[in-house]
């Protein structure tokens, strides 16, 4: 969980992105991307395939360096921080990768325990208690000593989420959490995202094109477009569907209308 406060939490956005330009090998994929994510918000980055959703995510979390612009987490600049500062800030967010990205040679408990071993001075017993709790919170109690190869795809994602939550981050990024899951498992994962936000006050940034999840979960969303190389819409998904004048936004969101 992020730091919960007895008697109210601090103000200020969780994430501030200003004038971000992202690309690979000199090729610009996104330019002039600016948005803010409020604390404890479930924020979606949506758009069609190839529009740069995952590229944006990889640049936000430091896997790639943006060519221009700044990213701030909880009021501190991530893009301008030195190596020690970045390492410190890495503790403030967790990331759930598309396939879970669990380390296959470690059990689920060891997967969750590794960040705790790296960043805390907790005893081995305490680390195991926390790792077990995190796995219990994602519904994997009883599977602590299983290896990733021994569990299903949905369970891998949940275990990946438990690992992302290990250090009680303030912000959790989700990269296509529903990809490859059946509708029921997908819905359960959506409920889990909501539960994490409601219980722990975590800010959740979800990269997805699953319309059911977008309408069910998103407090706010930005929509990216490949031809525009940037944001073409921002707001509540339901309002975007009903009020947006951009046909690309309405077309994208109306495919999910019941």
């Amino acid at each position: 969980m992020s730091l919960m406060t007895q008697g109210g939490d601090g103000a200020g956005p969780a994430i501030e992105v200003a004038g971000l330009e992202c690309g690979y090998d000199g090729k610009v994929v996104l330019k002039d991307v600016s948005f803010t994510v409020a604390r404890q918000e479930i924020f979606f980055v949506i758009g069609g395939s190839g529009c740069g959703k995952s590229t944006l995510l990889r640049h936000l979390v430091g896997l790639h360096t943006p060519t221009r612009g700044t990213v701030q987490f909880l009021g501190r600049s991530f893009t301008d921080a030195d190596a020690a500062g970045r390492r410190e800030m890495l503790k403030t967010f967790g990331l759930l990768y598309q396939g879970g990205a669990l380390w296959t040679s470690l059990t689920l408990r060891q997967n969750v325990a590794l960040p705790l071993e790296e960043y805390t001075t907790l005893s081995r017993r305490e680390i195991e208690e926390i790792a077990t709790l995190k796995l219990a919170q994602v519904g994997l109690l009883g599977f602590e000593d299983y290896y990733p190869a021994e569990i299903s795809g949905g369970m891998k994602k949940r275990a990946g989420l438990a690992r992302a939550l290990a250090l009680d981050p303030d912000i959790v990024f989700f990269d296509e959490p529903s990809a490859g899951l059946d509708p029921i498992t997908s819905r359960k994962l959506d409920e889990l995202v909501k539960h994490i936000r409601d219980t722990f006050g975590t800010t959740c940034v979800v990269v997805s094109h699953e319309l059911a999840s977008i309408f069910e979960l998103a407090d706010r969303a930005i929509m990216l477009d490949r031809s525009e190389q940037g944001i073409i819409a921002e707001g509540r998904p339901r309002e975007l569907l009903e009020r947006s004048r951009d046909p690309r936004v309405r077309e994208f969101l109306s495919r999910g209308e019941k």
Binding site: M1, S2, L3, M4, T5, Q6, G7, G10, L74, E88, M89, K91, T92, T104, S105, L116, Y119, T120, T121, L122, E126, E129, I130, T132, L133, L135, A136, Q137, L141, G142, E144, D145, Y146, P148, A149, L167, D168, D170, T199
Partner: protein
């Protein structure tokens, strides 16, 4: 996140009255930072009733839960009453969840008895042996099918593999063969100089290289370089379900993936061996000239008196067989790989070990066979 400057680090203040101890938790309780421990707070006191509560503005995460859990466990063991009612409902819920996960978590016992281990290992040997025979049989059948319809053979892949395992291996084969020739020459010179038979260094190097060292050293290099690459490539394809995709299309993976590689190695190994022989002889010649002052022409003529076509042929026959062994070991281990990153790594290691073992066995068999045949 480090705690904000205005919020002090985690603290626990105690208020004792009679047998009752009230613990008030304040500051920022952050899992990545230091916090008070329950034994520190308790000291030498043994209260019968412990009340835990949070100060206004306290910030907390799992770190606080660990502290509360330790307090709760201590109270249970001592028979003291642990009063959690003053804690927020959310904290109590999470504490109950931690308690439940602690109680319900049962370690998964993976240990097995000695007899079971022996039984499983024995069964594995049988399964592995059968796997090898199945694989060789499948290779033979696929070869027969391809001889009947050669248009199905993937010549492009084969040529690509030839380039990878042949041309691209030239630098490393050159270096190793040259140095083997140099080493042989230095070693031979120690003995030959004692008897004044310096010129026979050419015989030792020529015969050793063409009959034995050329083929063996090239095979060792290719086992480490190409065999491991085959295993890693096929193992990765298996992990990505590419092999399954071939099977569901009715295309035998052996025909599609293994035969082009086997043919490439069987063709390139003898060629590389010829090249290695030449480089080894050159390396030996350099030492013969530099150390023993034997002119190049004398070295060359003396070598021709002992090395004949049958020696070269025996080396090349072995090279072809070694190429087959390295290719089979690499492809077999790749196709047997587990569907994980660790499985691919193990397959590459296993391919090299299997190839080296089989090379040594095959070399010994060749030595006996050539001796019986008088080659």
């Amino acid at each position: 996140m480090s705690a904000r400057p205005e919020i002090p680090p985690a603290t626990a203040r105690t208020e004792a009255s009679g047998n009752r101890l009230t613990v008030i938790l304040d500051g920022a309780w952050r899992i990545t930072e230091a916090r008070p421990t329950w034994p520190e707070i308790l000291g030498s006191t043994r209260p019968e009733r412990v009340q835990l509560r949070l100060a206004d503005g306290v910030r907390w995460d799992s770190s606080l839960l660990l502290f509360l859990f330790a307090a709760q466990q201590w109270c249970r063991e001592q028979g003291s009453y642990c009063d959690l009612d003053a804690l927020p409902a959310k904290v109590r819920e999470l504490l109950a969840e931690l308690d439940r996960s602690h109680e319900s978590s049962v370690p998964f016992d993976r240990t097995e008895s000695f007899l079971t281990s022996v039984g499983v290992a024995t069964e594995n040997v049988a399964v592995q042996a059968r796997g090898i025979f199945d694989f060789i049989g499948e290779c033979v059948l696929s070869t027969v099918r391809l001889v009947r319809s050669p248009r199905k053979f993937r010549w492009g892949d084969c040529l690509n593999e030839m380039q990878q395992c042949g041309a691209m291996a030239l630098p490393i084969v050159s270096l190793i063969s040259f140095l083997v020739g140099v080493t042989l020459a230095y070693t031979g010179a120690i003995v030959l100089r004692q008897f004044g038979g310096d010129i026979y260094i050419a015989d030792i190097i020529g015969l050793s290289m063409v009959r034995e060292m050329g083929a063996v050293m090239t095979a060792v290099v290719l086992a480490g370089r190409t065999g491991a690459a085959f295993a890693a490539h096929l193992g990765n394809m298996k992990a990505n379900e590419e092999i399954d995709a071939l099977e569901t299309l009715g295309i035998p993976p052996v025909q599609f993936l293994v035969l082009p590689r086997l043919l490439a190695l069987c063709v390139m190994m003898p060629l590389l061996t010829l090249y290695a022989n030449a480089l080894g002889i050159l390396g030996g010649g350099v030492v013969a000239y530099g150390l023993l002052s034997i002119p190049a022409a004398a070295y060359w003529i003396e070598m021709q008196t002992i090395v004949d076509a049958s020696d070269i042929a025996s080396g090349l026959i072995k090279a072809g067989a070694f190429g087959l062994i390295v290719g089979l070991a690499g492809c077999l281990r790749g196709l047997q790989a587990e569907r994980s990153a660790a499985g691919v790594g193990r397959a590459a290691t296993s391919a090299v070990v299997t190839a080296l073992l089989m090379l040594v066995i095959a070399d010994a068999l060749f030595a006996v066979a050539f001796n019986k045949l008088g080659i």
